[in-house]
Symmetry: C2
C-alpha cells in the first residue's frame, strides 16, 4: 500500500509497569499485557501499511520477529540519537494508539511536507513522519505538538498537520478505554473484553465498568 | 470546493445557557458568547466548503443572514422531522466543533456511502452526512455513534466512518478548551484570548487557566 515500501517505523515502548493511570482498573500484570496488546495492534497496522516496525525499549524486550533496539536514555535523547543515524524517512509512532488504521498511516505517508505531525489530545504528538531525520529532532512531553511545529520551522522544514481521530486517540486514562470498546477491532479490544471491561451508560454518558468476577 | 455545491447543512444550536459544563470558567453571558463564536467558526467553514448552512434553534435566534428554523421539540424529534422533509443529501453538524476545517468537511462529502458518520469522543456523533434523508433517522445522546451505525444497517444503508480529530473534538469541558488554544484559528480562539483564558503547563500536562483580571 505504501508509496515508499518498507518505511522504517520506530515505536517507543515501555514494557515494565506501563500506563500507571489505568491502575484503578488494571493491576500491573494486566497493564503490561494490555500495553503489549496495543503495541500488537500498532505493529499489525504498520505491516499492512507497508512499514518496517522497530521497537525502541529501555529494557530487553521481544515481540515476535520485530526488531528491538535498546536504549536506556530518556525518550527524547534515544529518539534523537536514532534520528541522527537515519538517512531515509522515518515514522515515529507511539505504542498506545490501538485505533490506528492503515488508511490513517497512508494519509500520513502521503503528505508531501518535510514533517507530517499527528496531534494527540492535550497538545501531544502521537505520530511523526520525518522525511529528513538528520535535520529534525523531537521534543516530547508537555505541549509537544507546538514544540514540533516550532522545531520544524526553526529548521526551515515544511510541515503538515494530519487530521485523524484514530491516530489522535492515545490511551492513558480509564475514559479512553471507551474508544477501544466502541471503535477497536484488534487485540486491545479483545484483551479488555477478556478481563471483563465493558461499556456502561450513566446519565446519558458512556463510560466503562469492570464486571466483579475478575 | 464541494462536488455537489450548496449541500444543506443543518446546525442544531442552543442560544440560551449553553455549555453548562464550562460554568467553572465562564459565566452564562460568556458561555452564550462563546457558543456563538463556535457557531460562527462552523458556519464560516461550511460556507468555504460550499455548503448552505441553516441553524436549528428552539428559540428565535439570528446569526447574520443565515437561515434559522425554530423547532421547540427535542433534538431527535426536530432533526427527524427535518430529515423527513428533505429530498437532497443533508449534512448534520454540531455547533461546538470550532476546529472543523474545509478539508475535513470535503473528506466527509466525498465519501460514497449512504451515510458518513464522524464520531465524537465517548461514543458521540459529531457530524453526519446523509444522502437519503428520508430513509435515515437520528438518535443522539448516549452512545449515538453505535446507534447511528445500527440505524443505517437496519435501513439497509451503507455507511462510512470518517476519521477526523478536528471534527471529533467537541467542546464541552474545561480541558477541551486546550484544543482550541492549540489548534484553533477562528472566532472561538479569539474569544478565549479576549476573556483571558490561556494555556498552562503543570507537571508536564497542558491545561488552561484564566487570568485574574477578568
Amino acid at each position: 500500500m505504501s508509496e515508499s515500501p518498507k518505511i522504517h517505523a520506530i515505536i517507543p515502548f515501555r514494557p515494565i509497569n506501563p500506563k500507571t493511570r489505568l491502575s484503578g482498573v488494571m493491576d500491573q500484570e494486566e497493564r503490561e499485557s494490555f500495553a503489549r496488546a496495543m503495541l500488537g495492534d500498532v505493529i499489525s497496522v504498520l505491516h499492512t501499511a507497508g512499514c518496517s516496525p522497530c521497537i525502541l525499549s529501555t529494557v530487553p524486550f521481544e515481540y515476535g520477529d520485530v526488531t528491538t533496539q535498546i536504549d536506556t536514555r530518556d525518550l527524547n535523547e534515544a529518539l534523537n540519537a536514532y534520528l541522527s543515524r537515519q538517512k531515509m524517512p522515518v515514522l515515529i509512532i507511539m505504542s498506545d494508539l490501538p485505533l490506528v488504521t492503515p488508511d490513517a498511516i497512508q494519509r500520513l505517508l502521503s503528505c508531501t511536507a518535510d514533517v507530517g505531525i499527528v496531534p494527540g489530545r492535550g497538545g501531544g504528538t502521537n505520530v511523526l513522519y520525518v522525511r529528513k531525520p538528520q535535520e529534525f529532532r523531537v521534543d516530547y512531553y508537555g505541549a509537544s505538538f507546538c514544540d514540533h511545529v516550532r522545531i520544524a520551522e526553526d529548521a526551515g522544514l515544511s510541515y503538515e498537520v494530519i487530521d485523524s481521530f484514530f491516530m489522535s486517540t492515545d490511551i492513558d486514562e480509564k475514559e479512553d478505554l471507551v474508544e477501544i470498546l466502541i471503535h477497536g477491532m484488534g487485540r486491545s479490544r479483545c484483551f479488555l473484553q477478556e478481563i471483563g471491561i465493558q461499556l456502561s451508560l450513566e446519565h446519558g454518558r458512556v463510560g466503562i465498568q469492570r464486571s466483579a468476577h475478575e
